[in-house]
Subunit: 119 residues, 2 copies
Amino acid sequence: MIVRHMTNYHDELTTVFHALSDPTRRAVIQRLGRGPASVKELAEPFQMALPSFMQHLKILEEGGLIASKKAGRVRTCMIKPGKIKRAEDWFAQQRALWEKRLDRLDVYLMQIQEEEEEK
Amino acid sequence: MIVRHMTNYHDELTTVFHALSDPTRRAVIQRLGRGPASVKELAEPFQMALPSFMQHLKILEEGGLIASKKAGRVRTCMIKPGKIKRAEDWFAQQRALWEKRLDRLDVYLMQIQEEEEEK
């Protein structure tokens, strides 16, 4: 039921941007960009109780930004670039819209300038 | 005091990603990418009480993603691409890290393959 609720009200981009709206979670993504790491390694730079840190990892994993695997007593995390890439694509799409508009604005401004010069 | 609190605990990227972690706010950004629009025009596609919609605009404006100007009774909103661009840059930085790592991984895999072939 919780999953269905999430699917209805929170689309994929909402989940990814929410996951990235926290400096600790962004730092984890940045660290995992250099390669997989254990939870212990990941937690080390943060002055934070482990349960709080695990909560951040949970948000990243549930959002599909990272994956984790337990071997014995060690849980190793790794990045899943797919959804992060789709969030990046959203920016590229927005920028394409602005740039198209700015091109049109340039044309308009040039036309005005030409008309002014002809007066 | 509120401003100082925000500066201490929420850096710029946190604010931008939080602003984008909502489908209504992303739709507003997308609409404003096509050009400035009045609050009335922006609210029109959403089945939402105006005060709730205004709350979304407030989050976008306080986060520096949009600006607004009142002329008479009409408030017009426009996009401010600067911070959105910096959030996009964050993705590019992460991707650069992964790609560097994947290059090294490629080299490693090629070495293994060569060693296998030599056996």
